[in-house]
Symmetry: C2
Subunit: 277 residues, 2 copies
Amino acid sequence: MPIDPTAVGNSGGPQDRSWTSKDCLLYSLGVGAGIDELNFSTEKNQEVLPTFAVIIGGGGVPFNKIGSFNPAMLVHGEQAIEVYRPIPAEGTLRSTGRVAAIWDKGEGKAAVVVMESESVNAETNEPLFKTTMSAFLRGEGGFGGERGPSAPKTNVPDRAPDHVVSYDTRPDQALTYRLSGDRNPLHSDPEFAKMAGFDRPILHGLCTYGFTGRALLHAICDGQVDRFKSMSVRFSKPVMPGDTLTISMWIDGNEAAFQTRTQNDVVVIDHGKFTFA
Amino acid sequence: MPIDPTAVGNSGGPQDRSWTSKDCLLYSLGVGAGIDELNFSTEKNQEVLPTFAVIIGGGGVPFNKIGSFNPAMLVHGEQAIEVYRPIPAEGTLRSTGRVAAIWDKGEGKAAVVVMESESVNAETNEPLFKTTMSAFLRGEGGFGGERGPSAPKTNVPDRAPDHVVSYDTRPDQALTYRLSGDRNPLHSDPEFAKMAGFDRPILHGLCTYGFTGRALLHAICDGQVDRFKSMSVRFSKPVMPGDTLTISMWIDGNEAAFQTRTQNDVVVIDHGKFTFA
């Protein structure tokens, strides 16, 4: 059975998930928050990085309703979060998901599946955040669906950025990051990575997402998590553990466009859009 | 009530403790095992660093039977492990402890309490390892006990070492290491560290112990955990996160003397004694 475009609108969940203060600390270390961000990396006056939403959120998405595909051909294409309030350092949430869109990029090309998930605090029912992810299912195009919208080549204005922040990742960055949950051996096992066509294990896209989120939080929101409202990206190229990530930001009112590049000037996150208070 | 030297021989426990594969991986990252030691830092063909014994072992020691003391004045003076078989990547152990010795270093000086703990696999009853720790209780001397043995100034022979291994620690090393259990703010909170008389948070002695154990394992045992038999040390000076640790080893049959120094040539682990097969 190929991809079924009529699955759009199907929902899943509710799915509950609990997390602890330690989970938040481990995530913070995984995305590079260290001794200069002790409110995120230790339990003293602990706060939670807004991008931690991608770890505990996303539940209830009904992948089982979109037809069959080869999970090894799935590529994480885009990721967005909308954060309604600061994430508590521990708690339980309840997530419901839905298939937001399915696009057909053509025979021999990809099917694109857009999944949304809304999470509320399971104890108080307060909305916490929404996560949206686009999965590229390589080779699954050609099922007779619509092509979907095309994005402009870039969303970055033709002027110097307002903020530029650089962070080094470490050669063992993926080993720490993966303990937050994504144990895909593509990010840790050299043999597996070679079979997948890479010289060595690549960094998790969502790890780059976390580094980029820290840059936005500190450069634009002065580190105040309640000012961090939403962040959407397209993953454009793989990052290698040990790469230096440079995040450039262009402010426009309460929005910012941003891009993340490596030390080789390769754009690894594109179409970045950030909103803040 | 001061320290009670008649507490020697008192026992405690049994105390059970379970651990998971993830606990072992987090510990490995905390003591610097990264992409060159994937059998310790990922779950593929996972093995466990022998020094992980200090994390899951030590249970059942009857600190409540030695009299009263100020825990803030406790300094970890010495640590030893004897490892009877490779530690499984997950399991449950059962520990029993005893007060092995109490020494009196004199009025205004320290009481030294030596605690031993034996751990067996709770499912099979097989002996796993023994841990021995000496705690210096500063200011608790003068209770009328024996002074105890004096160690020679050093156990290192007057010749060039047989092996020298250097590892960098990271500025955020203690933040990762502490997630293995020891959340003492001396290792993370700059204000707390200042009150304790340090410029900034210091590294856990047992983190330095873990780095040193990795050096012994790789240089002497070719990375084979079943050849790692015992490792005892004295902690002589604090280590700062970010320091480079250089471990020098002098082989004598199936034993080795070792020392760990920082980049400033300060000896931070002395009286190191290692046995191997």
